[in-house]
Each structure stands twice: as structure tokens, then as C-alpha cells.
Subunit: 387 residues, 2 copies
């Protein structure tokens, strides 16, 4: 099991704080947006006396509400095609364990969410990274590149849309490319849509709406980001493949049930008005625009404009972002402040890639983002490894 | 992934209910005891505005309170030796994945908790069942029988103490036998102590107090049964082996964090007064005595007196308990009532064993237990496959 690539910087951030330096955390996807009060209140107001196991597939009432949420989002999904999981994390693990045997391969465009590696290791699955490039905005690699990697053990392609860590939103044409690929090569498409409700530039193309591949699509969902409810640990695996649902349910039964309290929260949150995301999206959009424009104004820095989620990748004019991200915590401060960033190396499966890149999560308000960018700008002026 | 052995009877129970027959559920370990109100209130009264990820190892405040709970129970455990998990289920999975490679073997006295199979399959681990016998009260099999099974791929022994499904409580001598076995053969001892606080006849010998094997013991814990909080999905993996803690933490980091709400509940519950379990234990003891005496009063039925947990195994004078447990739901009722029981076959790893046995969970009050036993008694008079 690989160690988390971001965690190794934690001691340097803690040391900086002990020295009295304010650290802006752009390194993790923990939103600062408040969890909807009505959803928290639903948990506060529960009236049961015994905290029982829920159904292994999740409470039926919650699954029915989720089905309605998907229908409003344009996906015709029955509640019986939904298995509620302990976070999106467990949905990924169940998907890998149910669809792939040990030694089977899944192709994932890199950079990708580092924990996919962890779940692949747990399931004995081999990740085949396929590089996407910052100068192309991290768009989908060409079909020919996918086909170079497809072999006898390839069972699936995994995407995150919109993407963590790049913020890239796949276009209709790219989703069509993926549709044809999985059809031609008899593959599963694992689509992590944790950030579905955070799209700014362009439309989200739901994997579950791809035609003619209904049995091959496994959608991974979570309430963590949608309702700023990361600690609830409620996600879902959604597929129209009945055999797969039967298998996933066996894994779900072995671990008994998903957490009860946050199912109450998730169920209540499906009643939020349609305009609930407008304010949240407007806030993230404002932050994105501040972050991207500030980054691109720094000499030698390049940040493609992300279409969704709340992440951006940027290339820096430095020798090695592992070193730079440590140095900015350990040896730098501006106005007694500094910033914690995620070196991008940990998001690549191919060793050596991402050395000049960082990932930024714009989970702070615009004032804080401006201050963090001031720090980054000044740091790049002073960093001894600048190139 | 094997299907849950109990679930296959669910449709028959549902059909009986649709016919208007009252079904007493002695088939599952869902306690009817109320969750402590002060612990539920702690959840009702939380005041945070963002439901954030907790620490991957669990909230430090909760781990410190758990450490104090263990100390009061006679186990000298530091909070840093505790990793909070999503139920005992996840602790078992983490233990297997962290300690064993795919193809490695773990010896488990059978009958055993059927989901151990599911976690073993998930981790690629091979379960080697070692039969314990109802006529010996399900005591630990002799050392010679363990040693027959120990081979080059054997990495551990797993016990549940007190036991689910048998209710057996391992004696000090048996725990000493296990200590010597793991020391001699360089094995881990995985000890599921979910029912630690429910011991009626004899003392619970904590695996973590075995001397000279501190690095080899992995204790699995949960608040599910202790505080009747099954839906919270909060457990713990506890070990003094620092290398193992480091590895488990990587698995914990990959899935981000255990559920936040039920950590609040678990933390509050550690403040319950020392006599909290007295009332609960007295209630279970009363139920056990009713169940066991009623069972043994039925001609041809034998039920050894369980020392702990809230389960009992009984042998019945029937051809096959799979058939009988289906028949009693499908073709029988007494006073418009019947009982759902778990055929024991699913708790054995060796095919064909347990065919005359059932497991009963005494999670209903004594009135309901009497009625359920009335049903069983009458059913055994009428069952066509009686022998």
C-alpha cells in the first residue's frame, strides 16, 4: 500500500504553524463551504432510539430520493440501481473488486486522484496510467494512445469527470470517444462523478447517459463535495448492470451497512431547492477566476483554466515541486504567511512526471486566495531552485 | 465473494409477514437494547457547521477516550495504538490486508462469523477452518489439531471472543494455548472482541494482555454491540505493533476517514458510568437463561450454555436445518406466529458441517423469546423431516 503523497509535507506545515506562521491550505479538497443547515438539522432531529444497521444497499427511502436527484440531473436511474456506500472510496473499491480479478488492468488518464492507487492495490488491480498533458489542458489522450495500452488483461478505463486533480471537464466528443472505446474493446467505464455539480465552463456529460454501453458503465458518486459533507462518509455506486449490482451487494452485505446518520443527511439534502448549487457554484467560479488569473500573471507559471471541480494544476518555473513545496513551508514566509501546495508527482502513475507541477484546491475564500497567491509570487522570486 | 448465508431466507420471512404471520427474528445480531440516550444526544447537540473529514486514524479526542476505556477494562493501550475504523468490519479487512499477502492462510475455529469469509476473499486470504464441536460446547480445538493445519503459508489465527456464533467464552488456559501457538509458529492472533462487555459465566481474557506476544496481537473492536450502535459504523483496530500501525494507517488514509457523526457518539459513550453494562448484561443473562432452558427442554434439542455474547447454537432433531428453517417460515405457524432462525451451515467453512445446527441471537425480550420457543417446540412436533 503506497503512502499518501500529500501527507509527507504535513510535518513541515505543522512546524511552520508552531513558528507562528499562518499557512493557507490549498493542498486538500476539504471545502470550507458550510454543510446545508437543513441537512445537518435532519440529523440533529432524528427520533429513533436504537441506532440500527441500515439495509446493506442503503435505506430504501434514501435510494428513492437519490433516484429522483439523478432524474432531475437528467439520468434515468431506478433506486434499485443504486447501492449506497461508505463514501465514494468504498464505491471505487467495490467497483474494482466486483469487476476485476487480481492482475487485471485498468487504464487511468494521469494525473489522477492518488487514492485510486490505494484501492487498486487493495483489489490486486494493476493501474496503467495514460499521460494527459498540461499544455493541452489535460484533455483526453488520443484513442491511439489508449489502444497502445489495451491488452488481454485490460478490463476497464477509469475517469474522474470533472477531474480531480486537474479540474478538466470532458467534452461530449471525448465522452463519445470513451463510449466507442469501451464498446470496441469490451471494457468497463468507471466514472467518478464526485464533482458533477461543480461545472463552470461547459456541460457535464453523464457517463450513465452514454447509449449502447449501459451494462458497462459504473458511476461513482458521493455527497462529500456536493453538500460539503466529507465526514459523513456516504457515497454510491450506480450501474444498470444487474449482475454487477448482485455482486456489489455481496460486498455490501459483508460489511453490513453504510453509516446511518449521514444517510439521513444525504436524504434531507436531496430536498434542497434547484438553485442551491447556484450560490456555491458562483462562489467557486469567483475563486477559480482569482486563482487562475493570479497564477498566470506570475512569470513562468502556467495554469490551464479548469472547467469544473475545485482544483487546478499549474506548472512552476522550479527544479522540483517536491522540493519547492517543502521549502515554501520550511524556509519561507511573507508577511508571516505561507501556503501549502500539493506537488503533482503523487498524482502521476509514471515515475518522474509532474515534477514541475502543483495541484491547488480553491477551497478558501477569494481574500485568502489572494494572500496565498501573494505568498507564491514572492516565494518564486526567492526560491533558490528557480529555473 | 460468497453470498450471505442468512439472507437467502429473507424472501420466505417476507412472504410469511405478507400472509399476516408474526415472525420472531432470532436470526440476526441486531440488538433491541436502546442506544444510550446521552450518546445519541451528543450527536443531536453537535454544533459544527462543516461536516469535515476527521483524521484518518479517527479523532484524537475519541482515541484518547477509547484508550481510557481500555485502561478501565484492564488493557494498557495508548491512543496512538488505536486506529478508528468504519465498523469492526473494516478493522478485519485492514488487519487481513496489512498482515497477509494474497494466498496466505489464516486458521479460524469453526463455526465462525460468516463475514470473515467475505473479508478473506476481499484480501485474497485463504481461510483454514478448524472444527470445534457442539458436544464440547465449542471449546478451543486441541493444539495438535491446529498444528496439523499450520503450513508455510499460515500467517495467523483468528478468534472471536466471546464467540459469534457460538457464544463460547475462551478460558485463561485456552488463551494461554493460543499465546504459545502464535509464539512457536510466528503467527498473528486476530482477536475479534466485539462482545467483550457481554460475559456471563467466567472472565474475559483480553488478547492484548497476553505476555511476550505484544507484536503479534491485533484486536478488533466495535461500538456496534457494546452501545447498541450498529448503524454508526465505528470500530477500531488496536495493536502494539508499530510497523503494523504504520501500514494500517496507509489503508486508513486511502479511504480518508471513518464516519464523523458516530465518532461523536462513541466518544460520548465512553463517559457512561461503570455500572452501565450491569443492566444490559442482566437483561441478556435473563434472556440467555430462558432461551437455553427452553431449548434443552425440547426433546432431541441440545444447546450448550454460552458464556458470553448474545448467541447460542443448538442441534435439532431434523434432517437438515437449511430445510427446516425454510419450512418453519414457509409452511408453519402457531397462533399465527413463527420464528426466523439461522441454519448453521453458513458458519462452517467445511462443507456439510452444521446441517443439524442452528444459531439463535437472543436479541428479543423474554416474552418474545418464550413465544418464539413455543413456535420452535410445536414446529419440531410437526416437521416432516424430523429424525
Amino acid at each position: 500500500m503506497p503512502a499518501s503523497p500529500i501527507r509527507k509535507l504535513v510535518p513541515y506545515a505543522e512546524a511552520a504553524k508552531k513558528r507562528g506562521v499562518k499557512v493557507y491550505h490549498l493542498n486538500i479538497g476539504q471545502p470550507d463551504i458550510e454543510t446545508p443547515k437543513m441537512a445537518l438539522d435532519a440529523v440533529r432531529n432524528f427520533d429513533f432510539k436504537v441506532l440500527e444497521y441500515s439495509h446493506s444497499a442503503g435505506n430504501e427511502s434514501y435510494r428513492k430520493k437519490l433516484s429522483a436527484y439523478y432524474k432531475r440531473a437528467g439520468m434515468d436511474i431506478d433506486y434499485q440501481q443504486i447501492i449506497v456506500t461508505t463514501g465514494g472510496s468504498e464505491a471505487i473499491l467495490f467497483a474494482f473488486m466486483s469487476c476485476l480479478d487480481a492482475g487485471d488492468e485498468v487504464i487511468i488518464p494521469e494525473p489522477f486522484y492518488a487514492n485510486y492507487n490505494g484501492f487498486a492495490v487493495s483489489a490486486g488491480v494493476v493501474v496503467k496510467p495514460l499521460t494527459s498533458y498540461i499544455d493541452k489542458g489535460f484533455s483526453l489522450p488520443p484513442v491511439a494512445e489508449f489502444e497502445k495500452l489495451i491488452g488481454p488483461r485490460t478490463r476497464g478505463i477509469m475517469i474522474c469527470n470533472p477531474n480531480n486533480p486537474t479540474g478538466y471537464l470532458y467534452s461530449r466528443e471525448e465522452m463519445e470517444t470513451l463510449r466507442q472505446l469501451i464498446l470496441k474493446h469490451d471494457l468497463y467505464l468507471f466514472a467518478d462523478e464526485a464533482y458533477r455539480d461543480f461545472c463552470y465552463t461547459g456541460e457535464h456529460i453523464a457517463s450513465l447517459n452514454l447509449k449502447g454501453v449501459e451494462d458497462r458503465v459504473v458511476m461513482i458518486d458521493t455527497i462529500s463535495k456536493r453538500y460539503s459533507a466529507c465526514g459523513g462518509r456516504i457515497g454510491a455506486l450506480v450501474t444498470r448492470n444487474q449482475d454487477l449490482l448482485d455482486t456489489v451487494l455481496k460486498f455490501a452485505q459483508a460489511r453490513l451497512s453504510p453509516p446511518s446518520f449521514a444517510q439521513i443527511l444525504g436524504e434531507a439534502a436531496t430536498d434542497l431547492p434547484a438553485d442551491y448549487f447556484d450560490a456555491t457554484k458562483a462562489e467557486y467560479l469567483k475563486r477559480r477566476d482569482v486563482l487562475v488569473s493570479r497564477l498566470n500573471a506570475i512569470p513562468g507559471v502556467f495554469c490551464p483554466n479548469p472547467g469544473g471541480a475545485f482544483y487546478a494544476m499549474a506548472s512552476l518555473p522550479v527544479d522540483d515541486t517536491d522540493k519547492f513545496c517543502q521549502w515554501i513551508l520550511e524556509s519561507f514566509s511573507y508577511d508571516n504567511q505561507t501556503v501549502m501546495l500539493a506537488p503533482a508527482g503523487g498524482f502521476y502513475g509514471t515515475p518522474g512526471l509532474g515534477q514541475k507541477e502543483i495541484r491547488l484546491a480553491y477551497v478558501l475564500n477569494t481574500d485568502a486566495l489572494h494572500k496565498a497567491m501573494d505568498c507564491l509570487e514572492k516565494a518564486l522570486e526567492k526560491y533558490p531552485g528557480k529555473i
